[in-house]
Amino acid sequence: MIDSIINYSSIASLILGILFILIGSIGILRLPDVFSRIHASGMIDTAGTAFIILGMCLQSGISLITAKLIFIGIFIFFTSPITGHVTANLARKKGLKPITNNKGKTL
């Protein structure tokens, strides 16, 4: 009983993760400029990764594998904003203008 509940929730979590990754890749294709695409890339790195790792953790039960999977999750959560920020920062520094429609203050 408990086993089948864990199994089904693991499958649901994996499918949800795949869905988020798919939406993120569509976003990377569809959105107009680098700064918007970073948001879609961030979706892959946060929701997609988190749900797939959650699904695999449920699949493996309490073991060393779960600890390593959680460690991968923490590592990707920690490094994803750094690469996103550094890419955006470099694009801004090299003078790329994002497509916006506001006249707000910028640095």
């Binding site: 499958i11 994996l14 795949i18 990754i21 798919l22 993120g24 890749s25 569509i26 990377i28 294709l29 680098v34 695409r37 970073i38 890339s41 892959i44 790195d45 997609g48 990764t49 797939i52 790792i53 695999m56 699949q59 493996s60 594998i65 390593k68 999977l69 460690f71 991968i72 590592f75 990707i76 490094t79 994803s80 750094i82 690469t83 550094v86 890419t87 470099l90 694009a91 520094k93 790329l96």
Partner: protein, 87 residues
């Protein structure tokens, strides 16, 4: 069987991002796409470990995540300064 289906769907996402990597207008688009492909490959390696029934191979995906991060930083620095040395 389930893991095979998931690997297949991950490869579809991989191909979608690959289109952006080839078509991307600016360099930053390409770097971003390469970074996203790296994240997807990290997940695919660990799922492949489950599919083969040897989840010990998760160590490899940690190494891949590490090299993905350091490689992205190195490429960005190369575009910023033209060399990897001084800060």
């Amino acid at each position: 069987m389930m893991f095979l289906a998931i690997l297949f769907s991950i490869s579809v996402c991989f191909l979608l991002i690959l289109i952006r990597l080839i078509a991307g207008k600016t360099t930053y688009d390409r770097i971003l796409a390469a970074n996203s492909i790296g994240t997807i490959v990290v997940l695919a390696i660990s799922i492949h470990g489950f599919y083969m029934g040897r989840p010990e191979f998760i160590d490899i995906s940690i190494v891949y995540a590490l090299i993905n991060f350091i490689g992205t930083v190195a490429v960005l620095k190369l575009f910023d300064k033209g060399k990897l040395g001084d800060k």
